[in-house]
Symmetry: D2
Subunit: 178 residues, 4 copies
Amino acid sequence: MKITAIIGSLRQSSIHRGIFESYKELAKEFFALEEGVIRNIPLYNEDDGDNDIAHQLAEQIMHSDGVIFFAPEYNYSVPGVLKNAIDWLSRATPQPFAGKPASIIGASPGAIGTARMQYHLRQIGVYLNLQFLNKPEVMISSSFDKVKNGVIQDEATIEFLKLHAGEFQKFSSQFLKK
Amino acid sequence: MKITAIIGSLRQSSIHRGIFESYKELAKEFFALEEGVIRNIPLYNEDDGDNDIAHQLAEQIMHSDGVIFFAPEYNYSVPGVLKNAIDWLSRATPQPFAGKPASIIGASPGAIGTARMQYHLRQIGVYLNLQFLNKPEVMISSSFDKVKNGVIQDEATIEFLKLHAGEFQKFSSQFLKK
Amino acid sequence: MKITAIIGSLRQSSIHRGIFESYKELAKEFFALEEGVIRNIPLYNEDDGDNDIAHQLAEQIMHSDGVIFFAPEYNYSVPGVLKNAIDWLSRATPQPFAGKPASIIGASPGAIGTARMQYHLRQIGVYLNLQFLNKPEVMISSSFDKVKNGVIQDEATIEFLKLHAGEFQKFSSQFLKK
Amino acid sequence: MKITAIIGSLRQSSIHRGIFESYKELAKEFFALEEGVIRNIPLYNEDDGDNDIAHQLAEQIMHSDGVIFFAPEYNYSVPGVLKNAIDWLSRATPQPFAGKPASIIGASPGAIGTARMQYHLRQIGVYLNLQFLNKPEVMISSSFDKVKNGVIQDEATIEFLKLHAGEFQKFSSQFLKK
């Protein structure tokens, strides 16, 4: 099983990039995780016509078996850079996200752990026809304590993410059998 | 009273630009409306440091008496380009949006008229500390029939927007008196 | 396949009851639809202990293969009477909704067709672990024209609901195979 | 200034009742807080016609200067009993909530502190035309540690609620001056 990871922050040393790297390792026994890079997708403007980078990412997603978003919460919602990438990807034909299993992994310095972002992304997923895993939800609080130098330091978080990877693999395989 | 208009679509002949132009005229008796241009704000990346264009827009908003968003709905939420601009603006000190009255004008070809986008933008506004007008909400359905060649053709829509402008002026003046 | 219908309005001649009756007929070739009655479930109060009526409804749902909510929008959200029933049902062990496919059918006199209610109900469904069908969403506008004397009069609405029933049957059968 | 408190849980020893009692005391220097009792409001059914208890509560709210909701989160949204009361109250003429300042105080045993409930309630408030205070939001986490025997034990929480009461008083007085 091959899953595309979309990282919703462009910063090189982003906490979500660190979580992605750790998760990729710990999820290896369940599926292969490969980044779908959004960094070079320009601002969406219908006047510009198609974009090759967005087109290639759409292809990558379409040929994968599911999507995991690693994303921070900005201003109580989805980061603009992630939403902008989704706005490009949703123009592709056929729809790259349609019917794919999906999940969200979010981390925040405070207590809420990106909950506000996640329900907005789930609503976007209704349009995209993503099948989001319900449980477990991953909302990592106090992220500055748990993730340091790009590596998850907190054992409980690592165990929880392993549990998540196993559940996501089981959930996703339902849709594979189609 | 001076209000900043933020247009949530970059397309030159965007329907929301057309609505903005018409609204600017019909609202003249209530307030001056001036575009706060988001077109040249880059993708948000904390590694890049401050951005002059975002900084200037923050200044413009701070010196205005309120904000009206003219925005489409993309994928059941706020357009990425608009959210990206907000993500930049929210970094400015002092916060440009804090305490400002605000409203949303959205139009869609279908029946829903951007409702899904508007409640996401209102949630973002809690963080930004925007004071959103509750009523009337402006959700223009069947926009291709009502807006043609960048001009609102529908008399009922024009009358409704005049009503909105008057209500927004009254609402906003409460906060001016502070 | 046996699906439980929950009607989110207590009024005898509710439009949503009418839609349920019509839908039950037109969906017959796809699945059997049976009402899960919420009328006699009391206001939720933890001091009262368990409730037999809620308990029986939980059993009915658990032994069915999915759930369809027929519900109006009250005050931009889920009707209190429906949410109250859900609050009772969510206490049952095992969780009656867990893993069940679900869908929402809403109708409103205006244009929005209960969109605001539906995304709130979908968020509730994340906790309940309902698997909501993404497409087609059913938001019936101008309901007073389309539903009269408890019967759907509008041919396009009837065809659309047949399409929905077929899609829901296909979607739900994925989860049956587990 | 006289504020109506609505408690969104019917349980006698509800944590939110405890928080209400403590808050009433600490907010005394800013405003008088008086409960608007929802306990005896029946399930909403349009067939039943008007309800005296709901009518009296509507009167009480209308003659107060604002509303504070003390409410738990049930199933990722507003408690059914609270939503049911709102559904009744919204039928009153004139609208009891229209133009009133409002705020939400929520507490949960976990980390999220009712965030999911609060944004749903804010969306409901758009329809009711409530003017919600943006900051500070009150989401009390680990409520079982902080509230014991119906009394807030945590000093930081008490200080924070005093700050909130002062801010709500300032915010509300803007609307009084109308």
